[in-house]
């Protein structure tokens, strides 16, 4: 145990990469099993299954490419990890705008974008759109509330609007490009503020208004290196982190005071 601790202390970054890789390998295996059920009408993969957020991270693009077993259209849905979210509404109180009401949503994807080879309304009917949560209007955002439907809709559209402003929900649909009849590709852009966690990339093959095949590929977004260590440190040992921050600041202030003493 002691040896292990020394090892993990010395090489935390490597350990993280190994963990991420192990998680990915398991997920990829699961994904492949699911894909075989659909008789391989559609095969898709990503140029990278790990987005590493390093200190210099400014956003990145991942290429999704794949092939179909014949003519058809392709839709790609990228969904980030789901977590609870609160939408707050401001009202005027004594002349000031302050938060007065709020609504909590239980399972909000932190990231959501869709890419299609043709406009969605030409591709499939409403039931299929809803089943696969294709497009923002179809995204399921459950909330515990007894609010009237129009209020609920206002909160829902506010959530989507805020996410779009942060660049985490796509404003318009991406384009899936076909090279010839079977080979397709699309670029998925992830901005600098992309939330960490396990993402789901779902590729759907659509023929005659029906989804005939689907494949799910996992994608891990993880902080790596210095930024990972800092955030792990702050989360796992908050008190020690606070002490370290204070000591660091005292040392820096002392050094600065000494350095500029004679200036």
């Amino acid at each position: 145990m002691a040896g292990l601790r020394i090892l993990t202390k010395r090489r935390p970054m490597k350990r993280r990469l190994v963990q991420a890789a192990a998680a990915l390998a398991g997920l990829l295996l699961g994904g492949t099993v699911a894909a075989t059920v659909w008789a391989q009408q559609l095969v898709a993969d990503l140029s990278s299954h790990l987005i590493a957020i390093t200190t210099g991270f400014t956003g990145t693009e991942v290429v999704l490419f794949g092939t179909t077993d014949g003519a058809g259209d392709v839709a790609i849905v990228v969904t980030g990890p789901r977590s609870p979210a609160t939408v707050r509404r401001k009202q005027r109180v004594a002349g000031m705008w302050m938060n007065t009401d709020s609504l909590r949503f239980d399972q909000v994807p932190s990231f959501y974008t869709v890419a299609v080879s043709r406009p969605l309304d030409q591709l499939v009917g409403r039931p299929a759109l809803e089943r696969h949560q294709l497009g923002l209007p179809q995204l399921q955002l459950p909330a515990e509330s007894t609010l009237p439907p129009e209020e609920l809709a206002a909160y829902r559209s506010a959530l989507i609007r805020n996410k779009q402003r942060q660049g985490l929900y796509a404003i318009s649909m991406g384009q899936v490009a076909f090279l010839g009849e079977r080979l397709f590709r699309t670029n998925i852009y992830f901005p600098a503020n992309v939330p960490t966690g396990l993402y789901n990339v779902e590729a759907l093959l659509i023929r005659d208004g029906e989804v005939v095949s689907a494949q799910t590929t996992p994608l891990v977004v993880s902080k790596i290196g210095f930024s990972a260590e800092v955030s792990d440190f702050a989360r796992n040992r908050p008190v020690v982190y606070g002490v370290a921050a204070v000591l660091g600041a005292i040392a820096a202030g002392w050094a600065a005071g000494a350095a500029f003493r004679r200036v």
Binding site: I53, T55, G56, F57, T58, G59, S83, P84, A85, T86, V87, R88, R89, K90, Q91, G95, M96, W97, M98, N99, S102, V108, S110, A154, Y155, A158, L159, R161, N162, A192, N193, P195, T196, K223, F226, S227, A228, V230, S231, A234, R235, P238, V239, Y241, G242, V243, A244, A245, V246, G248, A249, I250, A252, G253, W254, A256, G257, F260, R261, V263
Partner: protein
């Protein structure tokens, strides 16, 4: 050059943050204040979440006040005994402030609490300074004005637990400096500022302390309240971004050196007038934001908070 901030979970331009640190450092060196009241709104303006701006700012101020105290210490301008008494109140105030901060954060009212306290304190202090400094400038032009009494006794000086502070030549109730410290500590926790702009006038006008000792002594106790605030914010609210603090620090330390030199060319009341104008301008801008209709009435918070 973009740098990813691990706690704020966003990418910022390192040169922009360094430049902001430099500017605020310059002003704080010139006017002898911490400059936190300018930095927190600036950080919020570039998109740092207010809670993280406040927590990180407290961390940055630890370094700024350490290097400031060093300079005053060498000149013997620190009343340690008075500083320690203020500190006793300061730590209590900081703990209460961090606790209030956490409650407000959960209630979703932290943003308005930060803005409101800024408008109130900056508006009041800035306004008073503006009046005082313009009077001083007018008096300079008309030098026949009468000199006031050295010590005015008000009810505050009748409080119990009297203590003697030799360095400052004061015999006052210990509750007074402790109370001032407590208010300062709460400001550190809720507003992310050292509170120098409030402590300094309070020490001059309420304690009647010798002016030469005020800056060094207030900085001395600010070291400890900001350190306590950093520790408590990191432990309870996890809102201290070490990366951001480091960038601000580097810019601030360099800026302060230039500011100090520029400040020696300014007359006291002219400097106070310029500072109070900046303070009032910040307060007016924040008040305007509070009362004008926001672009989107709805805001989104991910996670349980």
């Amino acid at each position: 050059m973009q740098v990813y901030l691990p706690i704020a979970e966003m990418s910022v331009n390192a040169l922009l943050v360094l430049g902001m640190g430099w500017l605020v450092g310059f002003l704080s060196g010139m006017f002898g204040v911490g400059g936190g009241f300018l930095m927190t709104p600036l950080l919020i303006f570039i998109g740092v979440p207010p809670a993280i701006a406040v927590g990180t700012q407290a961390n940055q101020l630890v370094a700024a006040s350490v290097s400031g105290v060093l300079a005053h210490w060498r000149r013997g301008n620190v009343d340690v005994k008075l500083g320690v008494v203020m500190l006793g109140g300061g730590v209590v105030g900081t703990a209460v402030g961090v606790w209030i901060f956490g409650i407000l954060q959960r209630l979703g009212q932290i943003d308005i609490a930060i803005t409101l306290s800024y408008v109130f304190f900056l508006g009041t202090i800035g306004g008073m300074m503006l009046v005082e400094s313009s009077r001083a400038i007018l008096r300079r032009r008309a030098p026949t004005a009468k000199r006031g009494k050295l010590h005015r006794h008000i009810w505050l000086h009748g409080l119990p637990f009297k203590m003697r502070f030799q360095r400052s030549k004061l015999y006052i109730s210990a509750l007074l400096p402790a109370g001032i410290g407590a208010v300062g500590g709460m400001l550190v926790a809720i507003m992310g500022i050292g509170g120098g702009f409030l402590l300094v006038p309070a020490m001059i006008y309420l304690l009647n302390m010798p002016a030469g000792l005020v800056a060094g002594t207030s900085l001395f106790q600010i070291i400890f309240t900001t350190a306590a605030a950093t520790l408590l914010q990191a432990a309870t609210n996890q809102t201290v971004d070490a990366m951001l603090a480091l960038l601000l620090l580097i810019g601030g330390v360099i800026g302060a050196q230039f500011g100090t030199r520029a400040g020696t060319r300014l007359r006291g009341e002219t400097a106070r007038m310029a500072l109070s104008m900046i303070v009032v301008a910040v307060a007016l801008k924040l008040a305007w934001d509070l009362f004008s209709r926001p672009d989107d009435l709805y805001t989104l918070t991910m996670g349980l908070r």
